[in-house]
């Protein structure tokens, strides 16, 4: 048993190395427990006998890469997920942002775009959309493409609408989409001020000065060292006293950059860069 487990861990490390050297996707510092679980799922669902057999295939067959990425990146989100977070952005962060003539917002690890559109709608309702440039970045091209189309399964809309209402939405979510067959198509005007881009928190650098960075439930898949790199990148990317929003069970307490931030809305994991 002991030997078997060690072999699997070796296979996982080799697969991650292969992905990095062949395709420059770097999952080598992702949290192991979750990677292990998802690679086991991929192995079983795709019908491979071993993880090394899967590695052999992905190394030689680029068509296999998108499938691999689907397993290695987690795409679970909702519009206005955790309504209290968006309420806190609206009530506590927006009044500060209002004082700037122009704004930059970065949704890091935007996946299929639900969080991005939630923020755009919120900024529109607060009258700040026109002066804001939104950057939506992710490493998964498929997810990024879906984010760019802004089309979601109609059966998810009931949950989105309920979240929107609880988040303090000012009208009805249906003002921002139309339904076609069983799809919900977001108004393309919501993308007017959005730049979609491929960006990796693992290997890429600072690309602009942000007033708000929202990165929710992305860094939970990183190990401690990689989390430190990403938080360092956010620190460098934020303007003076800029804001950083994390997922509800994430925490900067364990980060080497903890001192660079202060709690802004503690319960919602909204931090402000410390520039007294």
């Amino acid at each position: 048993m002991e030997t078997f487990e060690k072999i699997e861990d070796i296979e996982i490390r080799l697969l991650l190395e292969a992905l990095y050297h062949r395709y420059h996707y770097d999952f080598r510092h992702y949290a192991m427990a979750s990677i292990r679980r998802r690679l086991r799922q991929a192995k079983d669902n795709l019908g491979f006998a071993t993880i090394s057999a899967m590695q052999e295939r992905v190394l030689h067959d680029p068509d296999m890469l998108p499938q691999m990425l689907r397993y290695l990146t987690v795409q679970v989100s909702e519009m206005f997920r955790d309504p209290s977070y968006f309420q806190a952005i609206r009530q506590a962060v927006i009044p500060h942002l209002r004082t700037y003539p122009s704004l930059k917002v970065w949704v890091a690890g935007c996946s299929t775009g639900e969080e991005l559109y939630s923020l755009v709608i919120l900024f529109r309702e607060e009258g700040l959309e026109e002066r804001t440039l939104f950057y939506a970045t992710d490493i998964n091209p498929e997810a990024l493409h879906q984010a760019e189309t802004g089309i979601y399964d109609a059966e998810r809309v009931r949950q989105f609408s309920e979240n929107y209402r609880q988040a303090g939405g000012k009208t009805s979510l249906s003002d921002y989409y139309h339904s076609q067959y069983n799809r919900c198509i977001l108004d393309k005007s919501l993308r007017r001020n959005v730049v979609f881009s491929d960006h990796s928190l693992v290997t890429d650098q600072v690309f602009g000065e942000m007033h708000l960075i929202s990165c929710r439930n992305v860094m939970i898949y990183f190990d401690r060292n990689l989390q430190d790199r990403a938080v360092g990148l956010f620190k460098e990317s934020l303007s003076r006293q800029g804001f950083l929003g994390l997922g509800s069970k994430e925490n900067l307490r364990f980060s080497t950059h903890a001192h660079a931030f202060r709690d802004f809305v503690r319960t919602e994991k909204i931090y402000q860069r410390n520039d007294s």
Binding site: M32, S34, R37, I220, D223, K249, N251
Partner: protein, 190 residues
């Protein structure tokens, strides 16, 4: 008890969890030497009150786990609502947003399986009352890794489906009454 030094306790419970945990957790002595991870099926859209309920009742400290929370012996960690709680290594908890498993997030199976990878034979896995099948697969993983598998006797359980499923998947598990599980846990010392 078998000469293996124990590393951690994982408890999974669903319907009837509060009453069962109230039997198991408060009597544990302040010197209890292992970390305890508790996964209860809680609604995903509201804060869980489990840590707030048990912290004042227990001699051990009870908290809701956050991502990359360091693991300290003698602390009770509850899985937060709407996240899976995984064990990254013997020092660190990692949370995950992956799909619900058997309609559950947190999933007992996910925690048990990741714990089996980390602790192997040093692990004690306990499945309590509940009305679904979650935990059965994870308990089997613990047993396969050489760890100790314990199931609350379905006869005395508030909901018997979960213990029954665990016993079916892991026939080598020890089936005990809540009181016997409590006595066993209290007997563990460093």
């Amino acid at each position: 008890m078998t000469g293996v030094s124990r590393g951690a306790v994982i408890i999974g419970a669903s319907a009837g969890a509060l009453e069962a945990l109230s039997v198991l957790l408060p009597p544990l002595p302040a010197t209890f030497p292992l970390p305890i991870f508790v996964v209860v099926h809680v609604p995903s859209d509201q804060p869980s009150v489990l840590a707030d309920i048990f912290d004042p009742k227990c001699k051990l400290h009870a908290i809701e786990a956050e991502d990359k929370e360091p693991i300290v012996p003698g602390v009770i960690y509850f899985a937060p609502p709407d996240y899976h709680m995984l064990l990254e290594d013997k020092q660190t908890i990692a949370l995950s947003n992956e799909e619900a498993v058997l309609f559950s997030r947190p999933s007992i199976d996910v925690t048990l399986e990741s714990a089996a990878d980390v602790w192997g034979e040093q692990l004690i896995g306990i499945i309590l009352t509940g009305a679904n099948q979650d935990g059965a697969r994870g308990l089997q993983a613990i047993s396969a890794a050489g760890g100790m598998a314990i199931v609350q006797s379905p006869v005395g359980a508030y909901a018997s489906a979960m213990p029954e499923a665990a016993i079916a998947a892991c026939p080598q598990a020890q089936v005990m009454s809540l009181n016997d599980i409590s006595t066993y846990l209290s007997s563990i010392s460093g």
